[in-house]
Symmetry: C2
Subunit: 259 residues, 2 copies
């Protein structure tokens, strides 16, 4: 019996996998990977048989069931089996189903975390998800068509909101957030195909998002992330810190330049 490693591939760029993940790929006998994994990522695994197993989003239970079986079967034949998943396995990754299947089959496994898109997108945007005096909390969520605005308020609330797989329902999410009391002027950033050569970003407001302003811009073939909150506003630059400025009264020095 082999051992299975559920590895987070990160947001896309091959070098945003962890060192541990890359080292395990180098010794893997089999790699079962999401179809959306960037091809360059698989170069870390020269000796492995690579098997594409379903899409990251929108796969049905029966497909997941078949993936589980493929992983278990691979572990019965090979020593090092890697299940390579986009992003992080524990966040919108359906790792639970795969862990259950491995536990039921008595197969040893380990989880290797990956950079989730929210972190990589914040890096691309150069906007911190948390921001002193502005944002102390972040919610990571998906949108359910069944949710109404009351539910969005109850279920998902934080200073910064990040919606995964929200492309098609972006106007609906924005409207529900405004109905729940968020200002129409709240900044929104959308990052598409984060960290890949196809990466694009769009900034607008919640009101604009609700009006559908992003929908023509969005590419249905690429993953995208909606980031909503005051932390995603344009940054007002402060003047350079001075060595002799030991007080925190530097706000008087604001240059009011926009990043």
């Amino acid at each position: 019996m082999g051992k299975v490693y559920l590895i987070g591939a990160g947001p896309g760029a091959a070098d945003l996998i962890t060192v541990r993940g890359a080292r395990l790929l180098a010794v893997a006998d089999v790699v079962l990977h999401d179809a959306l994994i960037e091809p360059a990522m698989l170069d870390y695994a020269p000796k492995a048989r690579k098997i594409a197993v379903g899409k990251r989003c929108g796969k049905r239970s029966t497909a997941q069931h078949f993936i589980n079986k493929q992983i278990v079967d691979a572990a019965r034949e090979h020593g090092v089996v890697v299940r390579l998943k986009g992003g992080d396995p524990m966040l919108f990754g359906r790792a639970d189903e795969e862990m259950r299947a491995l536990e039921a089959a008595g197969i040893e496994y380990e989880i290797v975390p990956g950079i989730t898109a929210a972190l990589a997108s914040a890096a691309s945007l150069r906007r911190s998800l948390t921001l002193r005096g502005v944002s102390r909390s972040v919610a990571l969520a998906t949108h359910s068509r069944a949710a109404d605005s009351a539910e969005i308020r109850e279920q998902v609330n934080a200073d910064s909101l990040v919606f995964y797989m929200g492309r098609d329902s972006a106007p609906e999410i924005a409207q529900q957030l405004m109905d729940a009391g968020r200002a129409g002027s709240t900044p929104v950033a959308i990052v598409e195909a984060c960290s890949t050569p196809r990466e694009r970003t769009l900034t607008l407001t919640l009101e604009g998002l609700a009006a559908g302003d992003a929908q023509l811009w969005l590419d249905p073939a690429q993953p995208s992330l909606l980031m909503i909150g005051d932390a995603f506003a344009e940054r007002v630059l402060m003047s350079e810190p001075r060595a002799d400025d030991s007080s925190s009264a530097a706000s008087g020095e604001r240059a009011l330049r926009v990043a």
Copy 2:
């Protein structure tokens, strides 16, 4: 003028940094690192001068001000400057202050994301932060002493809650969440020193956390993460999936074993 890389070191283990981060450390001239960085992480940077700059948590504004100046000064003298921060720079990392200082000084910089403790802790616990039918959203937050239970409900709400730097206020957080309507039986997992040789985990209930049951167990010298929600419950195992079971009616096969 050099270029500055704000790099997330990840949760602790040296091999949980990204490949990109490790490669940049290898060519760095100077590394300004959080004091809490694991020493093995610095082995990636054999040729760099290493400077410990303040603790990850609890540093004061003036200290941050001095760190900003050190980064800017280093970039004026060296080609490749790495600012190595625990976890991810964009999440409770005060990257904003450093980005502002670099922008004000006209210094080129780039952010390299890191594995945040919530993801690494979920991997250690083998519990998915999101879980079909149980948890569709995750909030990442810190606790403010100024917050009351109404604020916790309003500001931070999601199916899974993760509190960073919540050790000392853990009973207070738990009590506020119960006051705001969370069941006392809600599962809680605490992961301390995640991914390091000192890693420990404790599972209890929200009621137990409120009663102070975790406080004697917690080590004040280690970082810890509070994870609260039904997604952190013990897993009830299902029997092994069968090749011929193409329906999703496998729930009838539940073996009711506990992980």
